[in-house]
Amino acid sequence: MMNLMAPPFLYLIAALICPFLPSRWRALLLLGIPVFALMVMLAYPAGEHVVWSVVGFDLTFMRVDKLSTIFGIIFSIAALLSGLYAWHVRDTVQQVATLAYAGAAIGGVFAGDLISLFLWWEGTAVASVFLIWARRTPAATATGMRYLLIQVLSGVLLLAGLLVHYHDTGSIAFEHLGLVSTGTFLIFLSFGIKCAFPLLHNWLADAYPAATITGTVVLSAFTTKMAVYALARGYAGTEVLIYIGAVMALFPIILAVVEDDLQRVLAYSLNSQLGFMVVGVGIGSDMSISGSAAHAFCSVLYQGLLFMSVGAVVYRTGTSRASRLGGLYRTMPVTMLCCLVGAASISAVPLFSGFVSKSLILDASGYNGNYLVWLALLAASVGTVVHTSIKVPFTLFFSHDSGKRPAEAPVHMRLAMIIAAFLCVIIGVFPGLLYSLLPFSVDYHPYTFDHVLVQFQLLLFAALAFVVLKKIGLYPRTVASTMLDVDVIYRKWIPARLPLVARRVADLNASARQSALGLLGNGYGVIERLTRPGAPLARGWSVASMMFVVIVLMCAVLVLNLL
């Protein structure tokens, strides 16, 4: 019974009883469960708990160490904040999905073996898709289907990899795997999909804008961070991750700069931030792993904050299109300020959370001696300024006046945003609080004069560049448009060429079927001619022919035996 008190199961039980509660209680449940589960989680001593033996496998559901705990804590905080943010939501589907999704994600980071990891892995996929479908429009349904397909594909890859891995090693333990065999490669690919590696990232920018307002906030917190955790657990120090991460940090920037949909911009920036974490995992030193964990921690907060502020705008205006928004600071100042805090955090302004975590990864990559990667990350930091820190608040709240005068966000949204912003600042000012949670103890002081100086140089000159480019008219204006991403391949190109291919396939199929059927028919004819009643095989043989068979067989036996 006590095993059911493990945090992931608490969430699941809550999700089960949620539909039967009155609406206000449901919203309270969304607040209460994360707090309660967090306390339970922190009460667990380090080590492996809740081990269930299922068909000969020991499934470990609570593997508590510092790496999993920090992710558990931030997931709980994210669940709490999104619960608060979603206070107004009366949609049972969303509430259940939120609880189940958070529970699955927390289960994922505490899973001590690959099988239970796989269960939670699919759990997040299935639970989260309802946050998209809850929008209840045809397009959201279609998008959700695409999202679910990709997520389930990731799960299937994980399952395949786990089977191969089990076959190879006989172990299902989820420890450091390394990129050493087919099995671990499949698992790596599965993690890569959830972590939105370059070219596997489409689902991110596709799905986040499609979810409901609160759903987007929830989505932004869990899936990708769980994947980062999984990579840190299984593939720390895998060199290829450094390059993947560098590319990942850089390329969404270009896409984000010209993107019109601000939620999609945030999705790209989330992807770019993931790149930092992946680089940290790839470097694999104590400092870089800690940096990744810290960055994931901060990223959940500030990314959630940004999604919340954009969500609040959507909630009041019904759009997240930069081209239709602007000048909202007049009526949504609190949202604006929170958005600015989030922007400052993501671009690592000193005294904000991004500064204390991103520096860890940057310095770790610098010490690692990989100059190009370091430079790429530096560039990505600048890029973050381009597409998120300046673009989002500027186009939303300043820029040209769209004439919209929406009311300020509802109180609970404001409260959630203020708490998130407060946490961002607290972490930025007192980095020791965060550092004490890290998986490895780091002796790192972000607030040296050198460091603050170079950071200000970087950021302010970037701001200067923005001003200059804006003045000379080079900075791209926001236009209502769709930017192609690689998902165009499977959303447009393949479907466009599909009829032709389909006809070819159909022709081929028809001819193949015809010949196969002909062959089958002939074979059937032969068989029937041999075996239908009265045919040679099915006839009552005459005594003579029976005797003939006996004699032939007798001869065969005698000859074979006497030879």
Binding site: A535, L537, A538, G540, M546, M547, L553, M554, L558, N561
Partner: protein, 495 residues
């Protein structure tokens, strides 16, 4: 008293036979046969229990010690077959009363039961004896009475079928006799245990080889292994259906027992499957048997004929299991002997019920039979599933063991073919079930609408056997354990 049970096993039915003749009254001769058979069944159960507890039982007939005298020898293997034979015989005999009353003239009933008793005696005798020549004697007893039983069939085709069986059966029996003769010439003994010891030491190995070949051929004919099966379909189709149920459950099974006994106990595994090319004949025949005969069964329109061909196919499985010559292969074969015996007897009994009420068993005309004869059809379907080898039925236990055994030996192709043939079984059984259950009756006359279930005295034995087979399907380890023990005995030679 219990020491005398091996002798009682055959004496009871042997005595019952002439008493039946003297009684001459259909009912009382049936009662006499029934009592004797039940007693034989109880005796066999006691023997099985005793063998499993205490090991091998030996009984010297006439008090003459083994090598010179005739000896009854019972180990787990033949104890199991004894139970199978006497059990199925008892159940089918119970069932036969009504079935035979309809198809055989009343004045011949007492002869029918006499022949039945003789046949049971012969079959039990073959199984229980430890003397090679005695095997032949009992084989003749059972065969002759079997020909008689088959000739009781309703139409004249039964006579030709019986005659063909007689010719081929006699050839088989003569081959066996020749084989035994050669063995005697080569070793100077007829006792099986003694033969097993003396064959390797014999100076005329060539004679042993010839004996081996003749014995193999003879037994293969009697057990209807594929190219030598031609007597079986007609005999099964035209015999009274109770006889068919009895024969399908016991006769070929006993011949297969003889095959096992000679291959493994007398000649030894290494002799039969090692230096000689028996595999070159036996395994291909078995495999061709279960594939081709399943195929043939698909196309049969007469239910009895279909089941007869399926029987040949099942014999193929059993022989394939034997020719693996491993512990698990033998276990599979022996288990399938028992399981198929039960299932086929059930199926033929169900067919008999249909025949009793409908008057024919032309498959396509049995549409919507479920409405009219629900109990019979359900029994048929359950047993049919067992024939296919659906999990939780006996067929599954033995086919699964067989596949496992062939994989264990590394013969993937055999396993694949067994599966293929099971697919065919799905086709031919499924076809019948489809017609019985789903096909709408074309004519909606009063004749087809009313329910006309077979009499209880036929249904009860049918359901007893179905229940037993279901039990062994669910509790597969019970039969597997006995079979495993028997296989161990056989591979280890005679103790």
């Amino acid at each position: 008293m219990i020491d005398q049970f091996p002798a009682l096993q055959i004496m009871v039915t042997l005595v019952a036979a002439p008493i039946c003749v003297m009684i001459r009254n259909p009912r009382w001769s049936w009662v006499c046969a029934m009592v004797a058979n039940t007693f034989a069944f109880l005796v066999s159960l006691v023997l099985l229990d005793k063998v499993l507890d205490d090991g091998v039982i030996r009984y010297a007939v006439g008090g003459w010690a083994a090598p010179s005298g005739i000896e009854y020898y019972i180990d787990a293997m033949n104890a199991a077959v004894l139970v199978l034979v006497s059990g199925i015989s008892a159940v089918v005999l119970l069932y036969a009363y009504r079935s035979v009353a309809k198809s055989v003239p009343a004045e011949k009933h007492y002869l029918f039961y006499t022949a039945w008793m003789m046949c049971v005696t012969g079959l039990l005798g073959i199984v229980i004896t430890g003397d090679a020549f005695n095997v032949f004697v009992f084989l003749e007893i059972s065969s002759l009475s079997m020909y008689t039983l088959i000739s009781f069939g309703q139409d004249r085709r039964a006579l030709t079928a019986s005659f063909r069986y007689l010719v081929l059966g006699s050839v088989g029996a003569s081959f066996i006799l020749i084989g035994i003769g050669f063995l005697y010439a080569a070793t100077g003994t007829l006792n099986m245990s003694d033969l097993a010891v003396r064959i390797p030491e014999s100076e005329s190995q060539r004679a042993v080889l010839v004996a081996f070949s003749f014995l193999t051929m003879g037994v293969l004919i009697k057990s209807a292994v594929f190219p030598l099966h031609a007597w079986l379909p007609n005999a099964y189709t035209h015999a009274p259906v109770a006889v068919t149920a009895f024969l399908a459950g016991t006769a070929t099974k006993v011949s297969l027992y003889v095959l096992l006994r000679f291959f493994f106990s007398v000649f030894g595994k290494d002799y039969s499957f090692g230096q000689h090319l028996l595999n070159g004949v036996l395994l291909p025949a078995a495999v061709a048997g279960f594939v081709l005969m399943s195929l043939v069964a698909i196309f049969q329109n007469d239910l009895r004929r279909m089941l007869a061909y399926s029987s040949v196919a099942q014999v193929g499985y059993i022989v394939a299991g034997f020719s693996l010559a491993t512990q698990s292969g033998l276990t599979a074969g022996i288990v399938h002997v028992v399981n198929h015996g039960m299932v086929k007897a059930c199926l033929f009994m169900a067919v008999g019920c249909i025949l009793y009420r409908v008057g024919h068993v032309h498959t396509p005309s049995l549409d919507n039979l479920l409405k009219r004869m629900p109990f019979t059809c359900v029994a048929f379907i359950i047993s049919g599933l067992g024939l296919i080898g659906v999990p939780l039925t006996v067929g599954f236990v033995s086919k699964f063991t067989l596949i496992q055994a062939s994989l264990e030996k590394g013969w993937w192709a055999i396993a694949a073919l067994v599966l293929l043939s099971s697919l065919m079984a799905i086709v031919y059984v499924g076809r019948v079930i489809e017609i019985m259950v789903f096909r709408r009756s074309r004519e909606t006359g009063p004749e087809s609408s009313g329910m006309s279930e077979a009499p209880l005295s036929m249904l009860i034995p049918l359901y007893v056997l179905v229940g037993v087979s279901l039990y062994f399907g669910i509790n597969g380890s019970a039969t597997l354990e006995v079979a495993g023990q028997a296989a161990t005995y056989l591979l280890g030679g005679l103790q």
